[in-house]
Amino acid sequence: MKPALEVKNLRKVYEGGLEALKGINLTIPQGSFYGLLGPNGAGKTTTIGIITGLVNITGGSASVLGFDSVSEFRQARKLIGLSPQELNFDVFFSIGELLELQAGYYGLSNKAAKERTTVMLEQFGLTEKRNSRARELSGGMKRRVQIAKALVHDPQIVILDEPTAGVDIELRHMLWNYLRQINKEGKTILLTTHYIEEAEQLCETVSIINDGNIIVTDSPEKLTQAHGMSGLEITLTSEVADLKLDPWLYHLIDGKIHVNIDHPEKEMAKVINQISEQGGGIENVRIYRSSLEDVFLKLTGKSLHEEDEKFETQEALLNV
């Protein structure tokens, strides 16, 4: 089966010489929920721009279900729906009209465009806003329109560039549920985010991108296993002299035993057994696991969190 999206040795040098992508590779299988995770300026939007035809390619190639994004752009673009990072609305038209127009640009008939628009408005709770202009809507509603616009022609592949940046928790969860649902129904989703939780919650596979390079690609679980720390924290009722936990090493922190283990759920019973056999009484066992956030920090030396806060203040300023 051809991958939904494939990027080979992709390079982008912007006018002025900045190398935003330094030869990246991505293979996004059909039906997958794929995350591109990285701090601001990593190259996420540039990658998406090249796939969708907004950014000219410098080197390498991008393809959509086997169609080259440049030489076979018609077939390629038909398959994709894009929700750009920055809100962008045609100011002369109402929400309903602009969804109909968008469907029309993709070649849907008048009737089909109207029907899809109605479905999208209902789906995103915007039916009552059909005749409103985008500028009259709240930030969260604008974001919903932005995503509805990406889906109005019912594309097989949906690309969402930071869809939940600056969106309140309730809407974020609503969007997550919706995206999970359409992914289950067969749509391939590529999501960029700098919210770790979002990637952990939604994505089967995550590529971490930093400074125009993809550093690592794997499932969130594997990434935390490979690059993070996990284990058990055990509180004993009574101390055991010369405790041995074969084959694991442990250390005592504040009287609690810390054992680093790759698969703590699986090994928990064995560890507890060994402690009991040596006469230890167990009061409490807790699994700890470092998050994707820690992995990210370890791999890139950058925190994603600071960026979040910066972004949200910016967003807050814009809304004043």
């Binding site: 912007y14 006018e15 721009g49 969708t52 035809g53 907004l54 950014v55 000219n56 752009f73 018609r74 077939q75 673009r77 038909k78 994709i80 894009l82 750009p84 920055e86 962008n88 609305f89 045609d90 100011v91 002369f92 038209f93 127009l101 968008q102 029309g104 640009y105 993709y106 070649g107 849907l108 008939s109 616009k149």
Partner: protein, 253 residues
């Protein structure tokens, strides 16, 4: 030949200027009406006839051209500039439409506005001065070709423009002087040699001369040459616009 999406952009462009009719349709009707009254009625009696037609009729083809050229140009240039500035041009760039289709749809949108404006001024001429059109078909051909040419020029400027100012600069410093020097209000036969020769290299002079032939049946110079110039400009500007759009100059990064 063109996809459905192409016609949807054309429809969008037409809806946009209809929605903004106070800025897009009324001004040229009002200013043309004023020119007809002030120049035609007030000065016409002193100037009398030129080449056998009343002065008030003589100036109408030039006024029509003014109402074709500026609106056609402004429609495509401002529409593209806004779409670029507010980034909703991305909504179109990500669709399966080619650069050629996108630029042509903007050109057609501007052409429709130019032709509608020109037709409104002709209608006004009929009501205010009883103007009768000599050759309907040729009149339409001129409105269409000239609107097409300047809508094409508008796409080019829209691609480059970063603000309203740069769009208006072209109108105020190029088109308006060339239109006025193109013999809207006088016959170039009334001019001294230098200015007469200067008019000959002014393409807008030829366009006005051609439309005058189509509407009034009089021509100061070759009307065949006028038709050639109009069509040539239409082809040239729209080809250049489409080429630039396809390459993504200033539109793609």
């Amino acid at each position: 030949m063109f996809s459905r999406g192409f016609w949807v952009i054309v429809k969008r462009e037409v809806k946009r200027f209809m929605f903004l009719y106070k800025q897009t349709l009324l001004p040229s009707v009002i200013s043309s009406g004023l020119y007809i009254i002030v120049f035609g009625a007030a000065m016409g009696s002193r100037i009398g006839e030129i080449k056998g037609v009343e002065y008030i009729h003589f100036i109408i083809p030039g006024l029509v051209m003014m109402s074709v050229i500026n609106p056609a140009y402004q429609n495509s240039s401002s529409s593209i500039m806004q779409a670029k500035f507010l980034r909703f041009i991305e909504d179109i760039l990500i669709t399966p439409l080619s650069g050629l289709e996108i630029s042509l749809s903007y050109i057609i949108g501007g052409t429709v506005r130019g032709v509608v404006n020109g037709a409104l001024v002709l209608l006004l001429g009929y009501f205010l001065t009883g103007l009768q059109i000599d050759n309907w078909f040729l009149t339409f051909v001129y409105l269409f070709a000239v609107a097409w040419a300047f809508a094409g020029a508008g796409v080019i400027v829209g691609i480059y423009a970063k603000s309203w100012d740069s769009i208006m600069v072209i109108t105020n410093f190029f088109f308006m002087p060339l239109i006025f020097l193109g013999g809207v209000f006088y016959s170039i036969e009334m001019l001294p040699d230098f200015w007469r020769n200067f008019s000959m290299i002014n393409p807008l002079y030829w366009m006005i001369n051609g439309l005058r032939y189509a509407t009034l049946g009089i021509a100061e110079t070759s009307h065949e040459f006028s038709l050639g110039i109009s069509i040539l400009f239409a082809i040239f500007f729209s080809s250049l616009a489409s080429f630039m759009f396809s390459k993504g100059y200033r539109i793609k990064t």
